[in-house]
């Protein structure tokens, strides 16, 4: 695990030398204020391409706001966000998003919901049908192409949402606590499913969660945020080998890393 090269603000971060992967997202001194409430304070970090990055923090620490600012849905108060070198000022186009609730259109079938993003972009749905089928198979939704959302369980609906986010093969996928509404067993299973689906395409993923084990299991890097106003407490590199399975959950290194993440979240508690 690498420590940050700390400067005045905890958010500044030094990437290890020798790292070759290009930067896809660059955050510099990012601040967001809602009326009088300071949500996030001077965040700075970089995300490398094809990386799975989790953002962990207590409720209200601004992690969802951070995600929405990166997507361009929410404006910044100060500081800059660059995606592929370009400053983000409005909703960026090459991104897939998964929310805590599946947000499927109830009048469309599974296939219809996945193809929705192509139609929104004005692309031919027929053109993407095959890719949608492949994604469905990979996600374990085979046979449910013509089912309506109300016929699917919460976990399955979320899988549809994930397929939808992947359809146009975006360079960045944003996930805002996608498994938050699921029970713990399904949640764990979905984490492994996600890893499996992700490992073939390896899009850059920004994954917000409040589950430490989920973050450590899935990610290459975990960004730990503090309570509001959200600042970066620590950036933890996860050097666990892939693919990760249920054995990983009991491995010594996993427990060590989880403990590190946890200690950085709980910094300042119980004073």
């Amino acid at each position: 695990m690498l420590h940050l090269a700390e400067q005045e603000d905890v958010g500044a971060q030094a990437r290890p030398s020798g790292d070759q992967a290009p930067t896809i997202v660059e955050i510099a001194a990012l601040t967001k204020k809602f009326e009088s409430v300071l949500a996030v304070d001077e965040l700075s970090f970089r995300i490398r391409e094809n990386e799975f990055v989790s953002i962990v923090g207590p409720s209200g620490c601004g992690k969802s706001t951070l995600l929405r600012m990166i997507s361009g849905l929410v404006t910044t108060t100060s500081g800059t966000i660059r995606v592929r070198g370009e400053v983000v000022s409005r909703p960026i186009q090459d991104v897939g998003m998964v929310f805590q609730s599946p947000v499927l259109l109830p009048w469309r079938t599974t296939l219809g919901n996945i193809l929705f993003v192509a139609e929104m972009r004005g692309l031919s749905a027929r053109h993407y049908r095959e890719r949608a089928q492949t994604l469905m198979e990979t996600a374990g939704l085979g046979g449910f192409e013509n089912s309506y959302p109300y016929e699917l369980s919460g976990g399955m609906q979320q899988r549809v949402a994930i397929c939808r986010a992947l359809l146009l093969d975006p360079s960045i996928i944003l996930m805002d606590e996608p498994f938050g509404a699921l029970d713990i067993i399904t949640r764990e299973r979905m984490a492994f499913e996600l890893q499996r689906i992700w490992s073939s395409s390896r899009n850059t993923v920004l994954f917000v969660t409040h589950s430490i084990s989920e973050a450590v299991l899935l990610s290459d890097t975990v960004i730990v945020m503090t309570d509001r106003p959200g600042r970066i407490s620590e950036i933890v590199e996860i050097d666990l080998p892939r693919p990760r399975d249920t054995d990983t959950l009991t491995a010594h290194r996993f427990i060590e890393l989880s403990a590190t993440v946890r200690s950085n979240i709980t910094v300042g508690w119980g004073d």
């Binding site: 909703p91 609730s101 009048w107 929104m120 004005g122 309506y148 959302p149 109300y150």
Partner: protein
Amino acid sequence: MQHVASWAKPLLFLVGLIAVWQYGISFTSVPSYVLPLPSDIFARFVDTFAVQLHHLGFTAMTTLIGLTIALGFGVLLALLVIYVPAIKGIVLPFLAAFNGIPKIAIAPLFIIWFGLGIESKILLAFLLALFPIFVNSLSGLGEIETDMLDLSKLSGGSAFRIFFKVRLMNALPYIADALKVAFPLALVGSIVGEFIGGNRGIGYLILSAQFTMDTALVFAALLSITVFTSLGIGAVALFERLFLKWRPSRRSR
């Protein structure tokens, strides 16, 4: 009794009611011009079938035209309020206040303004149907989850595409519900217009029947109106069954 079809019980009840009416009336001193026998009503209904159809056709036309205009206008107005939030504070209270005025009371004014012809009937039908359609359209078009709108924006969806593929589809069940209320209301509007002036329509027919104490014809006309209303609402229900299977209240478990 569980194996009997759901429509059998009300039907049985209705038959019983008619039987009591037919055979019980002779034990009372109610005159036939107050409450005619079901057999008389039926005979009158058959007699005047062609005439009724002619007049009902006129009423149906004004009702449906008024309803269609209300549908278009209501949906467009709702869209306007959604995309221009500033006018919401004006439109909503104004419409609510206007809706509070009994149109039946304004109807004579419309006759003065627009005459005894078809226009005043259509206008009344339109005005009565407008409010439920507008209110429901506002809900259906406007109450979209923010996450869905965010997703559409991130997918590069134009306002046009978002309207057709998200808002309008979401609004369909709401509009269907509104139509079930607005259609009978539009019919009332048309009929009231006919009561006040004019020489055509089922309302006019009922009024003429009243003048000649032809109560059986009044009942026969009411029966026609009931059938017409049921057909209309049935059409909406059919539409729902065919195209809106997915709405939460319609799911079979």
